[in-house]
């Protein structure tokens, strides 16, 4: 189920005969289709739209993309990053989180799916063929929710078997329950299905169009039963009234249903945002309270919670997680060495070292399961 009804499909002539396009048109037979000759003209004509982000959730553009769709995760300067790679088959997201950074980056009112799928798989194939570190991690959740369009085009059906034959890891990161297509696939442990989690109050107030906490954990449980390695991302953590109770309760609830031995990694990341996001998000979500925290610009220009707040949140999260199982692999997303040291008592020397720790972790995890 899509969180927003697709109201119109814009089909690029170049994409018309692609099997991806045909699959989508079959899945949405009642949605009007407009054929377009040049997507640049369509995008130009679409301006100005009062709320391009909101409008973009209802307009599906199917087109081709000829540039690179596989890139290193942009990370952030002066911070430790995990050496992740992102694959972008879709831009824009049908979900609508108040804190989503895409609001500040996307400038056209379309949910865009690139249907030259074979080119993408070829790009991934070439990338992995040229001596990448074993068990490199790639994920589709940067510019959209990985599973959000499963009901109209089950991307997982193509990506999961593809990665099952590779010495690399695919991460499907989601806030949805769209796991039905995954359950019967032969994944060979090469796909990690992961969920972004927040306490129910935050989900209700700030994550419009996403599944509830309970639904997400139920979906994770189904994937666990299907043998998938699981990941969880407490990111963005929101400093709100009662956050300790909220996040501790969330961890306890999660691990009352999920076996910690099936969890390959867990990330923690405090809410952070580029300067331009605040104005846009406050206009789209006048009731949001996420910008009322004590957030200040850092060396990379992004606003983050005051360091003492972040460190306190991370330390408590680590404590609660380690109480569940001391073997959980917990890392910080886009944080400085200094914060790592204050939270864990040590820090990776650099992003490369964190990447190596991931490799060891995944290898050990795959051996064990």
């Amino acid at each position: 189920m899509l969180p927003f009804q697709i109201e119109r499909i814009y089909l690029d002539e170049k994409a018309e005969t692609d099997w991806v396009s045909q699959t989508i048109l079959k899945a949405l037979p009642e949605v009007p289709v407009e054929r377009i000759g040049d997507k640049r003209i369509l995008i130009k004509q679409s301006h100005p739209v009062p709320d391009p982000i909101g409008t973009g959730k209802k307009n599906l553009l199917i087109t081709h993309f000829y540039g690179r769709r596989l890139k290193p995760c942009p990370g952030t300067s002066r911070h430790i990053c995990c050496g992740y790679y992102v694959i972008n088959p879709i831009t824009n997201c049908p979900m609508d989180c108040s804190y989503c950074v895409l609001q500040g980056y996307l400038n056209n009112p379309f949910l865009t799916l690139y249907s030259n799928w074979d080119d993408l798989l070829q790009e991934v194939e070439s990338f992995l063929a040229i001596g990448r570190p074993p068990l490199s991690r790639l994920g589709t959740g940067e510019l959209s929710d990985s599973l959000a369009l499963e009901s109209i085009f089950p991307i997982s059906q193509f990506l999961v078997p593809f990665f099952a034959k590779k010495n690399a890891i695919l991460e499907l990161k989601t806030k949805s329950t769209e796991v039905e297509h995954l359950l019967s696939l032969d994944h060979r442990g090469r796909t990690v299905v992961s969920w972004s989690l927040n306490p129910p109050q935050v989900i209700e107030e700030e994550e419009r169009g996403t599944a509830s906490l309970e639904e997400r954990i139920d979906a994770a449980k189904r994937c666990q039963e299907a043998g998938y390695p699981l990941g969880f991302h407490f990111d963005p953590m929101i400093d709100h009234e009662g956050w300790e109770k909220g996040y501790e309760g969330l961890i306890n609830f999660l691990f009352s249903r999920i076996d910690p031995k099936r969890v390959v990694w867990i990330s923690l990341g405090g809410f952070r945002y580029p300067a331009q996001l605040k104005g846009i998000a406050e206009e789209r979500f006048p009731k949001t309270r996420i910008f009322l925290g004590e957030l200040f610009p850092g060396g990379d220009g992004k606003f983050r919670y005051f360091k003492t707040i972040r460190v306190e949140m991370y330390r408590k999260m680590v404590k609660w997680l380690k109480q569940v199982s001391p073997d959980l692999f917990v890392y910080l997303c886009m944080e400085s060495q200094e914060v790592w040291k204050e939270v864990f008592g040590w820090s990776p020397q650099n992003s490369q070292q964190l990447n190596q720790l991931f490799e060891e972790r995944v290898r050990e995890f795959l051996r064990r399961i």
């Binding site: 004590e294 200040f296 060396g299 005051f306 330390r315 680590v318 008592g345 720790l357």
Partner: protein
């Protein structure tokens, strides 16, 4: 419409403001012009059952009435002539050629088009915003519609202080009670466009964080104390109020600043030497600056600084790890916990 006729002022209904968008009109120059050379252009009226309705020329009629004139040249529309909307648009066009509109008058005009004459927002954006030299954008229409809803006192402030559209939007998010509390507060400060935005943002965010009204923030004794100090200039008052608001908005930051100041004062820096923490305490290390005017002064400062390294308070200030371990505010993570965080031994 008939030819120009003379109409008795007593026959004109001055209370009917269907077609008026006037707000704080400046009648002085019009008055002196009429006194000198009389009325050049006839007003536009519409015939009603027993009297006349003003379509265009409210100001001229007010001035003539003030001057004790009994009749006025007018062009008169018949009652069953053009629609209200057609006459309103005619009145807007006529005014545009003679005087233009201030921000509040634009707001009133747009409000009448949308609410009184029932135009769709999209029609308002497409057809009418450009009349007032505004970009065709729904956000802009909504900004003016919200201004039209505000109290007259706030509208006067918007005109007097030439408040920008982005600040009007911030005002629109406040309750009427808050806006009314804000006006006397703002009158005591010195605020340009950016400072005004900063002040609105601080007040609004503190109000939402603390779940109290903006009036409640302004009425705090510390803020009222600053406002009542008559010896302060508006710029000084503004700076002090802003400092109080910043501290309310960022209490943890304030706590850290105070702690830092307390530690810094403990080692009595000589005059001309200052120590600074990293911006927002993000990152480690301190920046030290010193200023001297003679070699003697330079030597004294260096001698002091070399002894500083042995002081515990100084080590604490630079967050020396050895010192920090003893002073950590947070609960300590046990070795067991650390050793399992990403499978790494410390």
């Amino acid at each position: 419409m008939n030819a120009i006729q003379k109409i008795l002022l007593d026959q004109i209904d001055l209370s009917d403001e269907t077609f008026s968008v006037n707000f704080m009109p400046d009648l002085q120059s019009l008055r002196s012009s009429i006194e000198k050379i009389g009325l050049i252009q006839p007003v536009l009226l519409r015939k009603k059952k027993n009297d006349y309705q003003i379509v265009c020329g409210f100001r001229r009629i007010w001035v003539l009435k003030e001057l004790g004139v009994f009749e006025i040249p007018a062009m008169v529309f018949e009652e069953k002539g053009p629609s209200d909307l057609e006459l309103f648009v005619l009145s807007l066009q006529e005014n545009l050629t003679t005087r233009g509109f201030n921000a509040v008058e634009k707001a009133i005009a747009l409000q009448k088009l949308i609410h009184r004459f029932q135009l769709e927002h999209s029609e308002g954006v497409k057809t009418y915003l450009h009349l007032f030299s505004l970009e065709p954008n729904e956000k802009i229409l909504n900004t003016y519609l919200s201004l039209a809803e505000m109290e007259d006192e706030t509208k006067r402030f918007v005109l007097k202080a030439e408040v920008s559209r982005s600040n009007i939007r911030l005002l629109a998010q406040m309750s009427s009670e808050d806006r009314m509390a804000l006006l006397p507060f703002l009158s005591l400060l010195k605020l340009g466009e950016n400072r005004l935005r900063e002040m609105f943002t601080l007040l609004s965010e503190i109000s939402r964080r603390e779940r109290i009204s903006i009036k409640g923030v302004i009425d705090r004794p510390d803020i009222q104390g600053i406002l009542s100090q008559k010896e302060l200039t508006p710029i000084q008052r503004t700076e002090r109020v802003k400092r109080v608001l910043m501290n309310l908005r960022h209490p943890k930051m304030k706590q850290m600043e105070e702690e830092f100041d307390r530690k810094r004062k403990a080692f009595n820096l000589p005059a001309g030497v200052s120590v600074h923490h990293p911006p927002y305490f993000e990152g480690k290390g301190l920046k030290m600056e010193f200023q001297f005017e003679s070699t003697e002064e330079y030597r004294t400062i260096l001698s002091y600084l070399s002894q500083l390294a042995d002081k515990e308070e100084f080590k604490e200030l630079i967050q020396d790890p050895k010192s920090e371990a003893r002073n950590s505010k947070f609960e300590t993570i046990s070795n067991d916990q650390i050793s399992n965080v990403p499978n790494k031994k410390v």
